[in-house]
């Protein structure tokens, strides 16, 4: 479903993603793990047509996101790591716009929106402007919106960041359900190893822009001789705390592109 070979992304001097390769099979839940600034979000941006790779091969359902952006966009849904809601609109209006963007049939819209807003306990607040929501509520709405249509591939970029255990539980139950009943392929990143272990069939660990290990949770534990995925992760990526190199990458990019008109 996803095929990546020798993928590279450079921002000026900085190489955010350095020749990674992996495959995600149709119908599986694939976790992409790594410390802050390892290149997770940059990879997702390339997979989801938001960023053109510097070099390397990339295929989503057999299509190249750089040349067939529109076709590729029809195939996936995404929950972004950072906010992407319209604060000047209500929760319901945000859901409605999404339904239009993703061609959810008109007669199904109301029902689906209500169901998801109820699951994530936002129904009572549906007519409030999103900018008045708390951080947790925004996050929940973001996820509810991402699940509004049923794509072939669902990208979840640290979806549970800042969520309470109840909501996390709701999310993963819903995602597993989508995966099992609709065969949705899921590509997720997270910092919570227990989540990765709970939902993912296969895992790839990225560090400093390179993939350092991939396999099932069981294989990773065997490979490192550790009892838990958390320990395996630390053994593979070291225990030093990382600065968020992503922000400096962003800064570099900002400078280089202030006037680039969307080109790199």
């Amino acid at each position: 479903m996803i095929h990546v070979n020798g993928l590279v992304q450079r921002f000026g001097e900085l190489t955010a993603v350095d020749g990674i390769s992996f495959d995600v099979r149709a119908g599986e839940i694939f976790a992409f793990l790594g410390p802050n600034g390892a290149g997770k979000t940059t990879t997702i941006k390339m997979l989801t047509t938001l960023l053109r790779p510097t070099s390397g091969k990339l295929e989503i359902d057999g299509l190249n996101p750089a040349t067939h952006a529109h076709e590729v966009r029809k195939r996936f849904g995404i929950v972004f790591q950072d906010p992407s809601l319209d604060g000047d609109m209500t929760a319901y209006e945000n859901m409605e716009m999404h339904a239009v963007f993703y061609h959810v049939p008109r007669r199904e819209r109301g029902e689906r929106i209500e169901r998801l807003l109820r699951i994530f306990e936002l129904w009572e607040r549906r007519n409030d402007l999103v900018k008045l929501f708390s951080g947790g509520m925004k996050r929940r709405l973001e996820i509810a919106r991402g699940l509004l249509h049923t794509p072939k591939i669902l990208f979840l970029d640290e979806p549970t960041l800042g969520l309470d255990p109840q909501t996390r539980n709701q999310l993963w139950t819903h995602v597993k359900n989508l995966n099992q009943t609709e065969g949705v392929t899921v590509f997720l990143t997270t910092h919570y190893m227990d989540e990765a272990e709970r939902v993912a069939q296969r895992i790839a660990i990225i560090d400093h822009g390179k993939i350092v290990a991939q396999g099932s949770p069981q294989e990773l534990k065997l490979q490192t001789g550790k009892d838990s995925l958390e320990e395996a992760f630390l053994a593979l990526t070291g225990s030093a705390i990382r600065d968020d190199a992503a922000s400096s990458a962003d800064q570099l990019r900002q400078m280089a592109r202030l006037w680039a008109g969307g080109r790199r």
């Binding site: 047509t49 938001l50 053109r52 029809k74 319209d86 402007l129 969307g262």
Partner: protein
């Protein structure tokens, strides 16, 4: 179509919900109208040019539409800042539709602002020369708004952040306004200034408005309309190219 509609609707809702902003954005045109209109009035009268409020009102309406449409169009930058832009960029819909809906919305908002300022002009004593020409005035307002809303969207697509917008204001939007003849007659200008004015699209917009509202024409209505339509098409084309290439 539904994408264009929902993006247009979004601009409408934002506009209607920001009542404080609507009132605030009327401040500047009213200041120009009252301070300049009555301040320069006596000099204008003595120079044998007639009533300055009559003369300047179409210019102030043009100014309002210029600022309003560029600002709304460049609202893209705020969407980039707050993240909503990403939502529209990964959606499986043609980006041209997203861009068109947004631009039409910005243009509609600008026409509404222009109309409000027109009403204010009327309140301080401005009277159209011929009420039957009002539809023509509205048409010119629409053309001005479309051109500059498209420009705003193009700028929003090309810039990476809000900081850059200040530069655009100083070096593009303000000159467009001051060199458009919104505040002064275009007749007998120094050659250099006349040459610059003749490449300012707003000059044709203001001229069209002035023709419709007070029967005073410099370039001729046909040329005015042609320049505006051509300009709008060109900027829309460039804007859609830029918008379709945005990466985040």
């Amino acid at each position: 179509m539904s994408v264009i509609y929902i993006m247009w609707m979004r601009e409408m809702k934002r506009y209607i919900r920001s009542r404080a902003q609507i009132v605030a954005s009327l401040g500047q045109p009213i200041l120009y109208l009252v301070a300049l209109g009555f301040g320069l009035g006596p000099v204008f009268q003595r120079a044998g040019q007639g009533n300055y409020v009559q003369f300047v009102a179409p210019g102030i309406i043009g100014m309002t539409i210029l600022f309003s449409s560029v600002f709304s169009g460049a609202g893209l930058l705020w969407d980039r800042q707050f993240g909503f832009l990403k939502e529209t960029l990964v959606a499986p819909v043609p980006r041209i539709q997203v861009m068109l809906g947004r631009t039409l919305g910005a243009a509609t908002v600008a026409v509404m602002q222009g109309t409000l300022v027109g009403i204010v002009c009327f309140a301080v004593g401005f009277r159209p020369a011929d009420y039957r020409q009002l539809p023509l005035a509205l048409l010119f307002m629409l053309m001005i708004a479309s051109l500059f809303a498209a420009l705003g969207t193009a700028i929003g697509s090309a810039l990476q952040n809000i900081q850059g917008f200040q530069m655009i204001m100083s070096f593009l939007v303000m000159p467009i306004f001051f060199l458009s003849g919104a505040l002064y007659p275009l007749r007998d200008l120094p050659k250099l200034l006349a040459a610059i004015v003749s490449i300012d699209p707003l000059a044709y917009g203001v001229d069209g408005l002035r023709t419709a509202l007070i029967g005073l024409s410099h370039f001729g209505t046909m040329l005015d309309a042609a320049v505006l339509l051509l300009g709008a098409t060109l900027v829309l084309f460039i804007g859609s190219r830029l918008f379709s290439r945005i990466q985040v």
